[in-house]
């Protein structure tokens, strides 16, 4: 029996083709079933809503992006600092780490209204949410990465009489990078969720604010535009991290297939 001659684009369809097909399917479904536009608008009216006021979306997307990146950046810097402290100090391990793990088990979005009370309806409360929701992934993965070191590598480093700082810089830190990147790739998505939750609770701008305002006016196409922009934003943030990762740790097992 000869294998069927299926063209490669059909056997393994590229992602743009899959997404375009979904859009077309969505458009055809709305033509056929005619749902009320405030329940499910068709892609063409969503597109029109975007074209009607692109600057408004751009400005709001900017606020959401900036707050996400600031919150994420802070969580990486502070989270990694904490992880270093936890790995090198028994005291911090039994105090900070235990506290963090305990706090992590509660749903952090429940804190969003409190943050608005504490920090107001401006950017600070959004950044704080992004930071809080992302830092656990950073700390836990960074601690894991810093701790996961073969005993032979530890012995080797000691036998070479390296100072603790040099051993950290030349061995432990690079060794922790793959794990840190894994944590960051989780954290970047969480940061976006944190900002969005903050914007839902109370805000003057941001894509979350756009969604809430449009929902109040039953302007569902605008809600859809914001949701689509958010998924594009989420993908872009994640892909940028992957791009950086490929350049920082091309030596890691997970990257070799790409770099060769």
């Amino acid at each position: 029996m000869r294998k069927l001659d299926v063209p490669s684009w059909l056997r393994e369809p590229p992602s743009w083709l899959v997404l375009t097909s979904l859009l077309v399917l969505w458009q055809v479904a709305t033509w056929v079933f005619k749902p009320a536009p405030f329940l499910l608008p068709d892609p063409i009216s969503v597109g029109r809503a975007l074209i009607a006021n692109p600057t408004m979306y751009l400005v709001n997307a900017y606020y959401t992006t900036a707050n996400t990146l600031i919150g994420f950046g802070l969580s990486v810097i502070i989270g990694f600092g904490l992880a270093l402290g936890i790995v090198y100090s028994r005291f911090l391990e039994s105090t900070v780490y235990t506290t963090l793990v305990a706090i992590n088990s509660m749903p952090k979005v429940a804190l969003a209204p409190l943050f608005v009370v504490w920090m107001g309806t401006g950017n600070t409360s959004k950044i704080a949410m992004a930071f809080l929701i992302a830092i656990f992934a950073i700390v836990i993965d960074a601690v894991l990465g810093l701790r996961t070191l073969d005993t032979e590598i530890v012995d080797l480093g000691r036998s070479m009489r390296g100072s603790p700082l040099k051993l950290l810089w030349k061995i432990r830190l690079p060794n922790a990078l793959p794990s840190l990147f894994a944590g960051m790739k989780v954290a970047i998505g969480l940061s976006l969720v944190g900002v969005l939750v903050g914007e839902f609770v109370s805000a003057q701008h941001g894509l979350g604010y756009v969604i809430m305002a449009a929902q109040g006016a039953f302007d569902t196409p605008r809600v859809f535009v914001a949701i689509l922009l958010l998924s594009v934003l989420g993908t872009l943030l994640f892909k940028s991290l992957e791009f950086i990762e490929r350049r920082v740790i091309p030596w890691h097992v997970s990257q070799r297939a790409v770099s060769h």
Binding site: D150, E152, D155, S159, R161, K170, I171, P174, W251, R256
Partner: protein, 271 residues
């Protein structure tokens, strides 16, 4: 050269002195006696093997000589000074090559130079020369994962040699390699040792490898880890692989086997 070394071997002041050393590890199921009452003098430039089954304390002893582990009782001294942490002029090779994946071959070999703040340019030459000597001249800029197991272990040896240490501690360095690569590396190690006059302590569980390489073999047994007998190997240097086919080599092998048998190492054969 052979005569010189014999003279050193019979000298009065041992380079490394291991006196009544025991090691007890605390474990959840009580204390474990890893090594008991080990005494051995090693001369400068000597090649000594610690030979025994797993659990005989040979790696533990090696770590204690390298200052990576403390003795429970007894004392170890190097050139007259008690061991307190890894000494200056120490090179170590482990069964795992523990090369760092993010460094190239050359950068891996340069690691001890960077960690000890030694002169970079001078040691870069030495690293390159060493790697060429071990047949890795074309692989300086490759990463560890691009090399075979034998090549990786050669890089690990170069890394241990780059600072020209006077003491080389090797913990089953060829244990994970195939037999042919192992033979090859045994010869290369002998070459290096004969040219440099380093003191080498070599941990192995291969009887023939120990006989092939050593001036003296320290035969050990487990539960508790202990020395049973120290055997002097009297083959001229440099030894070739053919030495293994001589009747004398078979005599040494038989002797070690009999020691192991009478100390319950080969349980299966006795049963």
């Amino acid at each position: 050269m052979t005569m010189d070394r014999n003279e050193v071997v019979s000298g009065e002041n041992p380079h490394i002195r291991i006196q009544g050393v025991s090691k007890i590890y605390a474990s959840p199921r009580g204390d474990v006696l890893a090594l008991t009452d080990a005494t051995l003098d090693i001369q400068k430039g000597e090649f000594v093997s610690l030979l025994g089954p797993s659990g005989c304390g040979k790696s533990t002893l090696l770590k204690m000589v390298g200052g990576l582990d403390s003795v429970t009782t007894g004392a170890i001294s190097l050139a007259g000074a008690p061991i307190d942490g890894p000494p200056v002029g120490l090179g170590m090779v482990f069964q795992k090559d523990v090369l760092l994946d993010w460094r190239t071959v050359l950068q891996n070999v340069m690691l001890p130079v960077e960690l000890q703040n030694l002169d970079h340019a001078e040691h870069l030459d030495r690293a390159t020369t060493l790697l060429k000597l071990f047949g890795l001249g074309d692989f300086l800029d490759k990463h560890p994962w691009e090399l075979s197991g034998g090549m990786r272990q050669r890089v690990a040896i170069c890394r241990a040699l780059v600072t020209d240490p006077s003491l080389l501690l090797m913990d089953e360095p060829f244990g994970a390699l195939d037999a042919l690569t192992r033979d090859e590396l045994n010869l290369e190690l002998q070459d290096i040792w004969m040219r440099s006059g380093k003191t080498i302590i070599f941990v192995t569980h291969s009887i023939s490898e120990a006989i092939m390489l050593s001036d003296r073999i320290c035969v050990m047994a487990a539960r508790p880890g202990r020395f049973i007998e120290i055997i002097k190997i009297d083959f001229p240097r440099p030894r070739t692989l053919a030495v293994r086919e001589t009747p004398e080599f078979a005599d040494y092998t038989r002797r070690v086997r009999q020691i192991f048998e009478s100390n319950g190492v080969f349980q299966h054969e006795k049963a």
